[in-house]
């Protein structure tokens, strides 16, 4: 128990205990193992003590239904945070004209600071951090509103620097409380900042970055590389967020460029750019799936597989949809899906064999 240092490890231990109990019951039913009453009581007491200690220190989910309720609470916190942001925006719009400039500035500066203090208060009061998550999202929303509205009060030109400030702020919130949603928001802002500055460096307006998907590749690859960093290991699920956000940035850019080569920065014809990104997309998706399987990272393997299937469906659409009867088109899609299923099944069987040996 003492070796458990974080909530993630505590949850893993609790999950192992649950599975152990189920397996023990199964073994007893099959007659492979028989514990006497004293042994059973001693074991059960130990498991209960361990679970109670884990729940006390880390507020873990001890059962499957508790886990499901936790998910519901996380979703409710997220929706609550977003609704609080919307309420703040609409409140400001409704009463903005009644305030002096000084009062407007004071409200804008105070909103994120007050919400930050409320997040800290909630985090101190409650270990599960559901209220802290809700308030941290509202705090982030208030800071986004703060810079936007402050800029518009003084009629200032928008700047890519705002993405940097928002990104750092969200990361500070995420690392202070170990929250994944503010981390995802912060990484999104920082990826946009890198893309915007890349666009500026090329001589375009920084706000043009959504038109040039290649500008997201650099930021995306940095996030994927950062996922392996040692500093992520101390925070439950942070590596996963880095990896998923990075892979989404990279694969979305490749997907768009494989369909719309005219958006590319490469000094080539549109007709040459698209096949390059199609080949790159299939190779990257295949490689990602393979690496995900090899390193036992399900999120990586799943992302690779999803993008592989998306790219494949798009290719099929371009090759066949115009001339092929609809029923035949979907039949081929389903046959390909069956083929992929068979392939994954073989892969799974092979891995199971390796695990057993």
């Amino acid at each position: 128990m003492d070796r458990v240092t974080g909530k993630r490890e505590a949850q893993q231990r609790a999950d192992r205990i649950r599975v152990f109990r189920e397996e023990l019951a199964e073994l007893e039913r099959e007659g492979a193992l028989a514990l006497d009453a004293a042994q059973r009581a001693e074991l059960e007491a130990h498991l209960q003590r361990t679970l109670a200690a884990l729940a006390e220190r880390f507020d873990i989910d001890a059962s499957e239904s508790q886990k499901q309720i936790s998910w519901g609470m996380r979703i409710a916190s997220t929706l609550g945070g977003l609704a609080l942001c919307a309420a703040l925006v609409l409140f400001i719009l409704r009463f903005w004209g009644l305030l002096s400039t000084l009062a407007q500035v004071a409200v804008l500066v105070a909103a994120p600071l007050v919400l930050l203090a409320a997040t800290e208060y909630a985090a101190r009061r409650e270990r599960t951090l559901y209220y802290a998550l809700l308030l941290s999202l509202a705090t982030f929303g208030a800071f986004v509103l703060n810079l936007n509205v402050l800029g518009s009060i003084f009629n200032m030109k928008s700047s890519s620097g705002a993405f940097l400030a928002w990104g750092i702020f969200a990361l500070l919130l995420a690392y202070a409380y170990g929250l994944r949603l503010p981390l995802a928001a912060g990484l999104f802002c920082l990826t946009c900042y890198v893309a915007a500055n890349f666009c500026s460096w090329l001589g375009w307006s920084w706000a043009s970055f959504p038109e040039k998907p290649e500008t997201f590749l650099f930021g995306g690859l940095i996030l994927v590389a950062a996922a392996a960093g040692r500093f992520q290991r101390r925070y439950a699920g942070f590596g996963w967020v880095y990896r998923v956000m990075g892979l989404i940035a990279v694969f979305t850019a490749i997907l768009i460029l494989s369909e719309s080569g005219g958006r590319s920065l490469l000094p080539m014809r549109e007709s040459a750019v698209e096949p390059i990104y199609q080949v790159l997309g299939f190779s990257a998706a295949g490689l990602t799936t393979w690496m995900g399987i090899r390193t036992s990272l399900a999120s990586v393997a799943n992302m690779g597989a999803v993008f592989f299937v998306l790219l494949l469906c798009l290719r099929f659409y371009h090759w066949w949809w115009a001339w092929m009867p609809g029923y035949l088109f979907f039949l081929i899609i389903s046959l390909v899906a069956i083929g992929l299923l068979a392939l994954f099944q073989r892969l799974r069987a092979q891995m199971a064999k390796e695990a057993l040996s």
Partner: protein, 254 residues
């Protein structure tokens, strides 16, 4: 660790806000770069939402991109002006990839010169009494050169804007193809600050008018009555605008 993170987040809010306030003060320090009085025709009153109490004035200029016709030709914003702004126009228009190449070019930041033409020079037509009299007449990268060329600050506004390259070609309905004769043209697609907040001290002038400009100009009667207010617009050291004073225009003077 958590305490430090929270303090750093609070410090970041204060630092970012401080930076914005210092920038705003810097823009308004010294004598303004330009000052011009415009009417409701050029400064449309808008609200972010229907029930919002916030008021904004949106700077209107012509020609808008959507009114462009192929026959108009590139006008002053031709290929050489585009190259001056940094667009690479070396690929011949006859090249099969020219359309995709040029259409994929994003916008660039530039300074747009808006000429304020009096009503007589604004041209006739059904909307002539409500249309903006600000017209784009030039664009460039260097503000100092444009200020020198267009020195009359009562007539010319030089504002930061987004310029974009367009590959203009005409669709031929009879052949169902684009007709030959494509050309490159540029356009000012956006001003970097097009919505200007009405300061609280001037809000009473506009608040009493009720309707937004779009709603007001929707009726024939209002169009014939003309604009309801004027405002003095200043541009500061960082080329960011602000409104200094608003006044109602009596019906007889419209």
């Amino acid at each position: 660790m958590r305490r430090r993170g929270v303090l750093a987040a609070a410090a970041l809010v204060l630092a970012a806000d401080g930076f914005v306030l210092v920038e705003a003060a810097h823009n308004r320090s010294g004598s303004p770069g330009a000052a011009i009085e415009l009417t409701e025709r050029e400064l449309h009153m808008t609200r972010p939402q229907r029930d919002s109490t916030a008021l904004l004035l949106e700077l209107e200029w012509r020609p808008k991109r959507e009114v462009f016709k192929f026959e108009d030709g590139p006008g002053w914003f031709d290929k050489s002006k585009l190259e001056e702004l940094g667009y690479d126009c070396r690929l011949p228009l006859t090249d099969s990839s020219a359309r995709a190449h040029y259409r994929g070019m994003p916008a660039k930041e530039a300074f747009a010169v808006l000429e304020y033409k009096d009503p007589a020079g604004a041209g006739g037509g059904p909307d002539s009494s409500t249309r903006s009299r600000l017209r784009t007449v030039d664009a460039g990268k260097e503000l100092a050169a444009l200020r020198k060329k267009y020195a009359d600050s009562q007539r010319y506004l030089i504002v930061p804007a987004l310029a974009r390259l367009f590959y203009a070609e005409k669709w031929d309905d009879s052949t169902r193809r684009y007709a030959p004769g494509a050309y490159l043209r540029g356009a000012i697609v956006n001003l970097l600050v097009s919505e200007i907040a009405v300061p609280p001290s001037e809000r009473h002038v506009l608040q009493s008018l009720g309707q937004t400009t779009d709603d007001y100009f929707a009726t024939e009667e209002s169009r014939s009555r003309g604009p309801r207010y004027s405002a003095v617009l200043y541009y500061g050291r960082d080329n960011e605008p602000w409104i200094d004073s608003c006044r109602p225009i009596p019906a007889t003077r419209r």
